[in-house]
């Protein structure tokens, strides 16, 4: 079997409240006193199951397994809710089995080790979310363990904090459905700037479709490769930053038009378009991140979400952070790509501070803002941003 959890255990994050003993909230632990949760994620085209362990002796979190499946639609198409739901429904049981057998290779009844099931409550696509929620509820009923509903965005952030040890970074969350600049203040993850229309990943995906790039492994990756072509020219596109916010839909319309008008005649190449689009979009993102840093007086940046995998974005961000004398957290698959372990990570933090979701409240929602979640695991009275 291929290992899906290659990462070392990470110490409990500096800056969080101390983890209360499990008995304080009647959390069932295994015979070693460890808290182990399952995280189920399926808000977009990826479905993943992660098993995460908290060891009270070493005070560290460890991902025991984290298998994942991705639905890749045919070229020229996006992933539609119906097909994506079918995909998730087809794979979720096998993923749970494989996650459990990898996490507990010699345990006869792995369910006895589990303290809770965490699942994505939102935001995301309705069908896929509900498919995974049903799996989560079923497991919780069979094993008689509590459920913890998790905000997908908070999952990215918490996994990022744990994996990098960054206690309080400015977070740029960029994915197919989200574009937000986030900083923690007064008990919540506040959104300092975001897109006022479509998400960055959505813009890239749709552009890739327009110029006929493949969705395998991902449209954004193929744009990145295309943009590397030597001699790619920089074309001027609209550049839309409104205060802390950005807008992508106008740029998308513009570049789609350019592709229609000029690609066939050879006035521009695909590489030119990809290169210029990346340069423009990422410059906008880096700019608003820098604004948030200046605003909050922070000098550490963490990029999470699928678009965070883009090397050029990483490079530009690193350049900006260097100019300001700050630091950029390294890219990591645990928080850049959707997966189960990150849901388990945010879920276990809530669980350890006494938060579970009643069965009647385990519904999913497509709209669930990052700042709706109270991060009870972080001290809210400490004011860092003035």
């Amino acid at each position: 079997m291929v290992s899906t959890a290659s990462d070392k255990a990470c110490p409990d994050v500096i800056g969080n409240l101390p983890v209360p003993p499990p008995s304080a909230y009647n959390i069932r632990t295994n015979n070693k006193g460890q808290t182990i949760v399952i995280g189920i994620e399926g808000s977009a085209n990826k479905v993943g199951v992660g098993v995460l362990r908290y060891c009270p002796h070493t005070k560290s979190y460890e991902t025991l397994s984290n298998p994942r499946k991705t639905y890749v639609p045919p070229t020229g198409q996006g992933f539609l809710p119906k097909e994506t739901s079918w995909h998730h429904q087809n794979h979720i049981v096998a993923l749970v089995r494989s996650a459990l057998s990898e996490a507990f290779p010699n345990v006869k009844d792995p369910s006895s080790e589990i303290s809770a099931i965490c699942f994505t409550k939102g935001p995301g696509m309705g069908g896929p979310l509900r498919s995974c929620a049903i799996a989560a509820r079923t497991l919780a009923k069979i094993w008689n363990v509590p459920l913890v509903g998790v905000n997908h965005c908070v999952g990215h952030i918490e996994m990022g904090r744990v994996a990098t040890g960054a206690s309080d970074p400015v977070v740029l969350y960029v994915s197919g459905g989200n574009t937000q600049v986030i900083a923690f203040s007064d008990g919540r993850y506040r959104i300092f700037g975001e897109t006022i229309d479509i998400a960055i990943g959505n813009c890239l995906d749709r552009f890739a479709r327009a110029i006929g790039l493949s969705n395998d492994p991902s449209p954004g990756y193929n744009i990145e490769q295309e943009a590397k072509a030597p001699g790619a020219k920089f074309l001027e596109f609209p550049y839309v930053v409104k205060g802390m916010d950005v807008s992508f839909s106008g740029i998308l319309t513009f570049v789609e038009q350019e592709a229609r008008d000029k690609l066939q005649g050879g006035q521009v190449t695909k590489a030119d378009l990809c290169f210029s689009l990346q340069e423009t979009l990422f410059a906008m993102l880096v700019e608003i991140t820098e604004r948030a840093m200046a605003h909050c007086g922070q000098n550490q940046v963490l990029i999470v979400g699928g678009v965070g995998c883009n090397k050029r974005l990483q490079e530009m961000m690193a350049e900006m952070v260097k100019q300001r004398g700050g630091s950029l957290c390294a890219m990591d698959h645990r928080y850049c790509i959707d997966n189960g372990a990150m849901i388990a990570q945010a879920g276990i933090m809530a669980l350890q501070h006494g938060i579970t979701t009643d069965m009647k409240d385990t519904w999913c929602t497509q709209r669930f803002r990052t700042d709706q979640v109270e991060a009870v695991w972080r001290p809210s009275t400490v004011w860092k941003h003035t």
């Binding site: 300092f192 006022i196 001027e236 205060g243 007086g297 709209r367």
Partner: protein
Amino acid sequence: MNSVEIPGPPVPSYYNESWKLISQGAEARVWLVPNFIESDATETATSSLASTVICKERFPKAYRHPSLDETLTKSRTKAEAKNLNRCRRGGVSVPVVLAVDLNTKGQTIASDSKSEQENQRNSACLFLEYVHGETIRSFLNIEQEESKEEPPSKRQKVDGEHDHAVIHKKVITRVDAYAEKAAYEVGATIARMHNVNIVHGDLTTSNILIRNPDIPEVTSVNDWKPDIVLIDFGLSSTSVNTKKTSNHEERAVDLYVLERAFVTTHVGSEDLVKEVMRGYKATCQSSDSVFVRLAQVRQRGRKRECFG
């Protein structure tokens, strides 16, 4: 933050040691230039302006593509100077523009860091009147010891830079009658700016100054008139209301950005936001349409939530 050594890119070629870096924001470096006007210049011409001025230097951003960088740097500096002058002509209190240099050559101080690419790019400098005063942000922030309360007059003074993290102190928002009056005047000033068809584009409480933040103990609210100055027109634009296009959208976004800046940086400032809106309504010529649009913008704000 205000370290002695100068971080980042080369400084302008006319820089000398008397320049003081007062802030390095996201967009630009702001220098305090003590001897901008030579002392033997005619006294009458300079009497109203102190010889100390501000140099706002948009330095090259290494992360941006050179041609994008140049376009943005030049166009933003140009727009800023133009819009500041338009505001001034329209009776809005803003800093006076003294000089503009769109092609400022750099000089490297530290000889060890030789980044050739950066040296080739030029920055753009804007020389502005130095406004004595305080940001609304620090005006509204009252620092408190965690356990015991302090009188509101003990607020901290900050000249535009960011505070460092203070663990044992708690910052609360000033919401007395003076703060409300200042908020009202902020709204009125923004309205006057909108009346001359300028939208600011980046209204935060750090970009609004108050010239007279120190209120003598004896002054009653009625005798005190806050003197509000808008600064940082780096993202400003002009938008004219014609039959074809309406500029209510941009104006509403201006108000929305400010509203959010208030709510995210000043906890419990909801009443102050109401005062801002009241001041705006009383002064803006088309406030009704702007408020209708603002309601839509807010709605859009709530719904632009996430998928995936």
